[in-house]
Symmetry: C2
Subunit: 182 residues, 2 copies
């Protein structure tokens, strides 16, 4: 990578990474994670991560949105890639911001479109958990906790306006939950 400098491009109002040779401006934008709380009969689909960060911990089927897809297509793609599940989206459950890492998460509520699931290449294991079976100490990220809680608040009811960050963490700046000894 060239030695980019942080300068304010003409007409802009903040510093950007700029190539001093050719003037190319490498705009840094927040990235979008799309994912789903997929449930069946009150049990929730979780994936045990085969990759870092948080390898071995449980997460929702979710990942970075790609170019040229919609948020809905991205959420369905991630469910397929990580859990080999074909899912049907019900609506947006939550929109979270993790400001310190420039991330926005769009989390859907979903069910299965067709039966069956298994671990994809980025998962060690995929399972349905009843609410009381969820391994809370081994949940990978704070936002997975938030999404599960928001899902639970709405279980069996029509979706309302999407949840956003919890009031005590409006910028998503708290550290991940305590690591369990995996």
């Amino acid at each position: 990578m060239p030695d980019f400098l942080r300068t304010v491009p003409p007409g802009d109002d903040r510093e950007r990474l700029t190539c001093p040779d050719c003037g190319f401006v490498a705009y840094e934008n927040p990235k979008i994670v799309v994912g789903s709380v997929v449930s069946e009969g009150g049990r929730i689909l979780l994936c045990r991560r085969a990759i870092e960060p948080r390898r071995g911990f449980w997460t929702l089927p979710a990942g970075y949105m790609e170019m040229a897809e919609t948020v809905e297509e991205g959420a369905r793609r991630e469910a397929w890639e990580e859990a080999r599940a074909r899912i049907a989206l019900d609506g947006v459950l939550a929109v979270y911001s993790i400001a310190r890492i420039g991330q926005v998460q769009v989390i859907f509520r979903a069910g299965f479109e067709s039966p069956g699931f298994e671990a994809g290449p980025e998962s060690l294991e995929v399972r349905l958990f009843g609410w009381d079976e969820i391994p809370w100490e081994e949940v990978a990220f704070p936002s997975v906790h938030w999404a599960l809680r928001h899902w639970r608040e709405r279980e069996g009811r029509p979706l309302a306006a999407p949840a956003t960050n919890p009031p005590d963490d409006p910028r998503g700046s708290r550290p991940p939950p305590r690591q369990a000894g995996l």
Copy 2:
């Protein structure tokens, strides 16, 4: 900009822009637009664009989200930059995808936190419009039409699950509305 090549990086599953000299991978990610339908007494705040694309056409206060901010902070920042308005967000009204340009729009419903507004540097003019006064032929983008319609459907009622793309345009692929003769 260096002569990047489209190749599949090790461990990836699709082509990315890669520098043949140093191996730097320029991941292209969808960009997030944050904006608001701001209303007071049934009238809606619109901004006449001072910049391309669609200079001279009317739009919502909205723009690209920056790093290190939340979607809520971004929406408030844009209302200030484009309309010198201090707004209070009510919740997420809509999440739209414009897949062909890799864009996701998160649109809030909002009111004024304090009175007053005026054109910021990217606006020629800022006005409150009653529903029947909106210059529909001079609305800048299809998604502004969608957001106004979704706002209207919920006017005076609690927010429900956010609207998404209209059923006849799930990927945001239709052209902009017919240009009015401005």
